[in-house]
Amino acid sequence: MINKVVKNATEAVQDIPNNATLMLGGFGLCGIPENCISALVELGVKGLTCISNNAGVDDFGIGLMLKTRQVKKMISSYVGENAEFERQLLSGELEVDLIPQGSLAERVRAGGAGIPAFFTPAGYGTEVAEGKETREFEGKMYLLESWLRADFSLVKAWKGDTAGNLIYKGTARNFNPMMATAGKITVAEVEELVPAGELDPNQIHTPGIYVQRIFQGEGYEKRIEQRTVTP
């Protein structure tokens, strides 16, 4: 098997150029590529287009890259947890393209799966459908959505092996599997990196073919946005 291991996040993202299009896995702060985000902030690349379901919070996740003005455009479904985001959007520093969450997920999957466009009912009759082709199938209206792809996809998994196979944990899976398929270069950071052969082939969530670089991350904070407990 091909060994895809790189040393750390810095090595993994070092060739990401200014104005690149990135996909970043995660839902809220759950399952985000924490190490890669830190390395991007350190690297200081600018003009990034970030495809990510959310935009982090003010002091964590993609919020860290917003603070340093590295993001030119966000493509997301929900960006409501971030005051700095709001400020940059209102001041015109930041562009935002809001996409229904299911369409975002499916457009990313389509990007990885070689499907340039597909019909979905989401957004029909709303402003999301403006300028888009619509069509009726079996009495219901749909609109045509196109694939999304990225120069680099940055994903976070629970376990990975040296061949690039990934296993996610809990709801930290979310957008990571599709994004792993839709990057020209996909970088995976994992909590535990094991030699090829240690993961059960039957239980792999992301086959190694989609992953070009992998490393074991460190110091995961895994912040919780809404800590809700049963007393």
Binding site: G31, G80, L98, Q101, G102, T120, T126, T171, Q226, T228
Partner: protein, 219 residues
């Protein structure tokens, strides 16, 4: 007039055995607390989980296990985890039996507006547009009137809409209403102490009242 818990309790009565259900944020989330124990239902979380359990005990909190409202949760026996693409495949494919969500406005032809207020910061539609465009069975939980007293059950939505012709039923603090496929709000039940006239006065869209309108039964 019902409070939020009353609305949640009344909506819980709409749930049937075997349902897979997606609950939106706000009042819909409260519905989970009032589902009769004898019903076997499964709650779907669009960030990738079937089988949402109660909030975890403090020592069981797991940052990798949250619901679509980003709250820490637990899983029940028989749960399954999956990607966002699979989750919305499930929603779009019509596999979820019931979707319960909040709204800012509903029109008499079943349009719903719940994602954007002009002039206010746009937060995004999240999964709402996929949910309303895909589900066959949508119940809206909402206040009948705005704080300023304006009806939120309208002839036409004034806010940017989330989806068209999609709402089947509305439970408000004042009433239970069906949205007819041919258009119009059909009054089914009154909240305790609320008269048909009060509901008429609070509904800008076409209200259809046939026969005696019973009062809701809420425990």
């Amino acid at each position: 007039m019902l409070d939020k818990i009353g609305i949640a309790k009344r909506i819980a009565q709409e749930i049937r055995d075997g349902y897979y259900i997606n609950l939106g944020i706000g009042i819909p989330t409260l519905v989970a607390n009032y589902i009769p124990d004898n019903l076997n239902i499964v709650l779907q979380s669009e960030n990738g989980l079937l089988g949402i359990g109660p909030f975890p005990k403090e020592q069981d909190v797991d940052a990798d296990l949250i619901n679509a409202g980003k709250q820490t949760i637990s899983m029940l026996n028989g749960s399954s985890l999956f990607s966002s693409a699979e989750s919305f495949a499930m929603i779009r494919g019509g596999h979820v039996d019931l979707t319960i969500l909040g709204a800012m406005e509903v029109s008499e032809n079943g349009d719903i507006a719940n994602w954007k207020i002009p002039g206010k910061m746009v937060k995004g539609m999240g999964g709402a547009m996929d949910l309303v465009a895909s589900a066959d069975n949508i119940i809206v939980a909402m206040q009948h009137k705005s704080r300023s007293g304006a009806s939120k059950l309208l002839k036409e939505c004034t806010l940017p809409i989330t989806g068209i012709n999609c709402v089947n039923k509305i439970v408000t603090d004042m009433a239970v209403l069906d949205v007819l496929s041919e258009g119009g709000f059909k009054l089914l039940e009154r909240a305790p102490g609320v008269s048909v006239q009060e509901i008429k006065d609070s509904t800008e869209g076409t209200l259809i009242v046939e026969g005696e309108i019973p009062e809701m039964k809420i425990d």
